[in-house]
């Protein structure tokens, strides 16, 4: 975890809504290709932490470093740049309802990256192909299944060439039979060396992908370590207890 290699580093991020403090100073550093999985009870601050990392929720305190360069959180320009480099996948997809699958991808390429219509289209088709949806390019979100929507959302994020991907429970809103297709796309990303921070309760993602697990509770990171450390049977950890309960709910996932 040396800082020299860190691609993204956050230091002491704090966030509260009114009198409720949701995040009590989160610090974490991420290096190239690393996959961090956030777990913990709901309301523990996982989503807030992810949204603070790309400042969709503006942290009140703390610092964010991209390649060891401090991001000026007051500068709209630097924030937009940070957000281009840190892609985000949402639990409920958030596709643009009035645009086809392919235009969901081209719109940001054209407006943010200022690509030509032709180049953007070409890039978008390539990304759709990567997630196995080339034949759905001209369909609107309302015509796609949940799994297909999430795959379009992933393609949309990847088209921006992010260096880090934040995934906020990417499979939680899906019907059980659609979870598999999204998981396999995420595994494919991991195989390509994508750096990720992912909040998930999907044991198959936690156990096979995580380089490091962070357990969050009441707005703080209370445990962290490799899956081997936290999940080994001779270890008493909150993480292990939590994962065991997850397994009781869906044992076939492990």
């Amino acid at each position: 975890m040396s800082n020299a290699l860190s691609i993204l580093r956050i230091s002491n991020l704090k966030k509260s809504y009114g009198k409720n403090t949701i995040l009590h100073g989160a610090t974490l550093s991420l290096h190239q290709g690393e996959i961090i999985v956030l777990i913990g009870p709901s309301g523990g601050g996982k989503s807030t932490l992810l949204q603070c990392i790309n400042c969709l929720a503006m942290p009140e305190e703390g610092e964010i470093f991209l390649h060891d360069n401090r991001v000026d959180l007051q500068s709209a320009g630097e924030l937009n740049e940070l957000r281009q480099k840190v892609g985000m996948i949402f639990q409920d997809f958030n596709l643009f309802d009035h645009l086809t699958a392919v235009d969901n991808i081209t719109v940001a390429l054209r407006k943010v990256k200022k690509m030509s219509k032709k180049d953007a289209l070409c890039r978008a088709r390539r990304e759709l192909d990567q997630v196995g949806l080339s034949d759905k390019a001209s369909l609107y979100p309302a015509q796609l299944s949940g799994g297909q929507k999430q795959r379009v959302a992933i393609a949309r994020a990847l088209a921006m060439d992010p260096e880090v991907l934040l995934l906020d429970e990417p499979t939680s809103a899906l019907d059980p039979e659609l979870v598999g297709e999204v998981i396999s796309v995420i595994k494919q990303l991991a195989g390509n060396g994508m750096t990720m921070i992912m909040a998930t309760h999907q044991m198959s993602l936690i156990s096979t992908l995580a380089d490091r697990i962070l357990f969050m509770e009441n707005g703080s990171i209370v445990e962290q370590g490799t899956p081997q450390e936290l999940l080994s049977s001779d270890m008493v950890s909150k993480t292990r207890g939590f994962c065991e309960r997850l397994n009781e709910i869906s044992p076939e996932d492990l």
Partner: protein
């Protein structure tokens, strides 16, 4: 008092010229209102608090004053006070435009607030500026959603435009009154005027309904126009 239909037939071209004036007033007013409405709705939803407050006081002003009062206030009051030489037709168009602008702002504001926050967040997460997110993602959707309410607003403004006769703009009502007061054929003439308004309302609403269906997002089943 006999019923003389020939008066109606003779004066029809004259009345129809008036309906052209009405159409121009209403179309221009709706267009002005669209621009005012969109800009104000964006300001009320996304602007800083002082801006939002300022804009909502504009809405309250135009919602609270009767159109007739506004018409006199601007035409005889403000425009004269400022030394502007504004024709009755222009004055009516401006006043109706500003009035419907206030109502349209509320229509668009409601549509914006009813949209889930997620798509805006996703747009910002891709690095779009606030302006880009509003222009490329929010507005195309809320404008579609607003067409049924907008067509309702059209039908209201169309009929409010009849008030223009009191300051002498040469529209349907003014011309009908002019002919009626000379021929005493009030009944057939006002029925004719009413029918012209009816046809204009019907045609406009039908056109907007067509537009609504044409720009509808595929896969969505909601139908704002009912049956």
């Amino acid at each position: 008092m006999h019923f003389d239909l020939s008066v109606v037939i003779d004066s029809l071209p004259y009345l129809l010229q008036g309906s052209a004036a009405t159409a121009v007033i209403v179309c221009c007013a709706m267009a002005i209102g669209l621009v005012i409405g969109v800009v104000m709705a964006v300001g009320m939803v996304y602007g800083p608090r002082p801006v939002a407050l300022l804009l909502s006081s504009y809405v309250w002003f135009f919602r609270g004053f009767p159109v007739l009062v506004l018409l006199f206030l601007f035409y005889f009051g403000l425009f004269t006070f400022l030394g502007l030489n504004v024709s009755a037709l222009t004055a009516v168009t401006l006043v109706l435009g500003m009035t419907t602008g206030a109502y349209q702002a509320n229509i668009f504001k409601g549509a914006m607030l009813s949209m889930p926050k997620g798509q805006y967040k996703a747009a910002r997460a891709l690095g779009m500026t606030q302006t880009q997110a509003i222009y490329c993602i929010i507005l195309p959707q809320i404008l579609r959603m607003s067409i049924p309410a907008w067509s309702n607003e059209y039908s209201i403004i169309l009929k409010d435009s009849a008030l223009a006769f009191v300051i002498g703009a040469p529209e349907i009502m003014a011309r009908t009154q002019f002919v009626a007061s000379r021929t005493y054929q009030h009944l057939p003439l006002y029925i004719t005027a009413g029918l012209i308004y009816f046809v204009l309302t019907w045609a406009g609403v039908l056109l907007l309904e067509k537009l609504y269906r044409k720009v509808r997002i595929p896969g969505y089943s909601q139908d704002g126009f009912g049956q």
